[in-house]
């Protein structure tokens, strides 16, 4: 039977999605590899996978790609599973290519779906900022394959409840870290807390200049909401980091999300939870945000935003 190994990053959605992805490939024996897991988390994993191999936690207790690689590589090389799965998350990016290179496995990155097609493995992924899809095929590989999964893409097939075997494992005795964790930094709380806002107006690179922010600021005020933004706006220091929504910013759960000049990258939308009513204003009909939004307005934000503000103010008075 096909052997699939997954590397566990978290015990919630991530573990579940890895299990769902493994099950999407037909019958397989699944093994979860994890560094550091409390008893209850081990039990939770045993319900999702046939076997759970538990290594000791890293020195600082956090995800440490170099340490995890040292733990799991000997297993990959000795047991030669058909496929190794990880999430295409920030932490996954720090580990997956390293493991691929060291276990000589072709890597399929950021997959939306996977399909076994002997002798090989096919996947669909996005390119060009989500505007294009690519079907790729990893050729026959005697070393097996490695794939990273787009977070949130594998949620459809519910994994069967099983009773996996737990197996304790040790870290390699000769492990010599070449990188050490000095500190974990939590984001600075800003003047506003966008995570609590019911209405958010999110502005993206389409705003073009810092001075232009005024029009979206003023729209947010008219709506009684807060201003949020995408990463490029923060990179340019036009707005503070505490307004950035996304996988490397904050997770928000508003009722209304109005995205203006935002393309809709998965890293940005990954921070929008709770299924808000989403409205997108973008001049590009092919912008990926229109696939997620409830309502789309194709047009120039510089014309639409002031007009909308005017109508809101008129409506409210």
């Amino acid at each position: 039977m096909r052997e699939i190994f997954v590397i566990i990053e978290d015990f919630g959605d991530g573990a579940w999605e890895l299990a769902a992805a493994a099950r999407s490939l037909g019958e397989a024996r699944t093994t979860a590899l994890v560094c550091g897991a409390a008893e209850e988390n081990q039990q939770a994993l045993a319900k999702l996978f046939d076997r759970v191999v538990v290594f000791p936690a890293s020195a600082d207790g956090n995800w440490d790609a170099e340490y995890i690689a040292a733990c799991v590589l000997p297993r990959l090389l000795s047991e030669q599973p058909y496929l190794v799965l990880l999430l295409h998350s920030n932490n996954g990016l720090d580990l997956a290519p390293l493991l691929a290179a060291k276990s000589n496995r072709p890597m399929l990155a950021d997959c939306l779906s996977l399909e076994v097609r002997e002798p090989g493995l096919a996947a669909v992924r996005t390119t060009f900022g989500g505007k294009v899809r690519a079907r790729i095929f990893a050729k026959e590989s005697s070393a097996g394959y490695l794939a990273t999964l787009r977070p949130g893409a594998f949620t459809t097939s519910a994994p069967v409840e099983g009773a996996g075997i737990l197996e304790g494992a040790t870290a390699p005795a000769d492990y010599q870290p070449r990188r050490r964790c000095l500190q974990t930094l939590t984001p600075d709380a800003g003047a506003v807390d966008i995570t609590q806002a019911a209405i958010l107006v999110a502005v993206g690179r389409g705003i073009e200049e810092q001075e232009n922010l005024e029009i979206v600021q003023s729209l947010a005020e008219a709506l009684g909401g807060e201003l949020a933004c995408t990463r490029p706006v923060v990179d340019k220091k036009w707005l503070e980091k505490s307004r950035q929504v996304g996988t490397s910013g904050l997770t928000v759960k508003p009722k209304i999300y109005l995205a203006v000049g935002v393309s809709g990258s998965f890293q940005h939308l990954g921070g929008v939870k709770g299924k808000p009513y989403m409205i997108a204003i973008n001049q590009d009909p092919a912008a990926p945000i229109f696939a997620t939004a409830d309502v789309g307005i194709i047009g120039d934000l510089f014309e639409l935003v002031p007009l909308l503000e005017e109508k809101i103010r008129a409506h409210k008075s």
């Binding site: 170099e66 920030n90 932490n91 990016l93 720090d94 997956a96 290519p97 390293l98 290179a101 072709p106 990155a109 950021d110 996005t126 390119t127 060009f128 900022g129 989500g130 505007k131 294009v132 899809r133 690519a134 079907r135 790729i136 050729k139 590989s141 070449r178 990188r179 050490r180 964790c181 000095l182 500190q183 974990t184 930094l185 984001p187 709506l223 490029p232 220091k237 490397s248 910013g249 904050l250 009722k255 209304i256 393309s263 009513y277 001049q283 092919a286 696939a291 997620t292 939004a293 309502v295 789309g296 307005i297 194709i298 014309e303 639409l304 007009l307 909308l308 809101i312 409506h315 409210k316």
Partner: protein, 262 residues
């Protein structure tokens, strides 16, 4: 300090209409404008700043076709000292593994303190090549750097991890760092600046110079092939409003009202 920075030229497709060409394997490129990958621009700036602080040299490398030399000139104009163009007809359609193999071959045997990459390329969006090179050269890797300083034989790197957190790590040099946007403010490159470096010699290395055996190269490295490019299905997702701006905004007011926004 010897710093190498790997860069790529990409098409900016954020505001053009995209069409797949007749082969089904490439996009119609007529309307594209090309520039350095956004992440790589930050990586070049980081490399040049470190050199300005600690001395040494910065070398920019790209794997690409003839036109891609343009990004190397741009990197030279930003303050890189040398450039290397890995170009060979055999490199066409190189997958991430092939690119990493070529880069590793170009870097092997050189004295390296720091090897910088962008975190991801805007077109492929794989976030893979830097980590693969780290693995192939057996160097420590830190991904998604948002701050980077060098202190003797160590680098201090702040990088993005889970849940919006960042972690500060100390890493032994030589090391591979992938750079995240926003780490610095990349300097402006003027046409004059590019003109100044127009005469600089940029060596071109192909399979022979890199010591890659041509006949093995393709079978060894092009492990992933592109089968098809297609546009995401149309008509799923948003209800697209129609009419004049005036009409669309009136409808939107109505929808906001119905959905608790007003």
């Amino acid at each position: 300090m010897e710093i190498y920075v790997c860069i790529k030229r990409v098409a900016d497709t954020s505001e053009v209409e995209i069409e797949v060409d007749r082969s089904g394997l490439a996009l119609e490129e007529a309307d594209f404008s090309w520039d350095i990958n956004e992440w790589d621009n930050f990586a070049v700036e980081a490399a040049v700043q470190l050199k300005e602080q600690h001395g040494g040299t910065v070398t920019a490398i790209t794997v690409g076709g003839e036109d891609d030399e343009e990004v190397l000139r741009r990197a030279l104009a930003m303050g890189c000292d040398q450039a290397l163009h890995c170009y060979d007809p055999a490199f066409e359609k190189a997958d991430a593994w092939a690119i990493a193999t070529i880069l590793a071959a170009a870097l092997k045997g050189r004295a390296i303190d720091l090897l910088l990459f962008g975190a991801v390329s805007a077109d492929e969006g794989r976030g893979q090549v830097g980590g693969l090179v780290a693995g192939l050269l057996d160097l420590p890797l830190v991904s998604l750097a948002t701050a980077l300083t060098v202190d003797g034989a160590k680098a201090i790197v702040q990088h993005e991890v889970e849940n919006g957190l960042e972690r500060v790590r100390e890493v032994d040099l030589p090391a591979v760092i992938t750079v995240q946007t926003g780490i610095n403010e990349p300097r402006y490159v003027s046409v004059r600046g590019i003109r100044k470096v127009a005469a600089m010699d940029i060596p071109v290395h192909g399979v022979a110079e890199l010591g890659l055996a041509a006949e093995n190269y393709a079978s060894q490295t092009n492990r992933i092939t592109l089968e098809e490019l297609f546009l995401p299905p149309q008509g799923v997702g948003a209800q697209i409003l129609e009419g004049s701006n005036e009409e669309m905004m009136n409808q939107l007011i109505q929808l906001l009202q119905e959905n608790g926004g007003l």
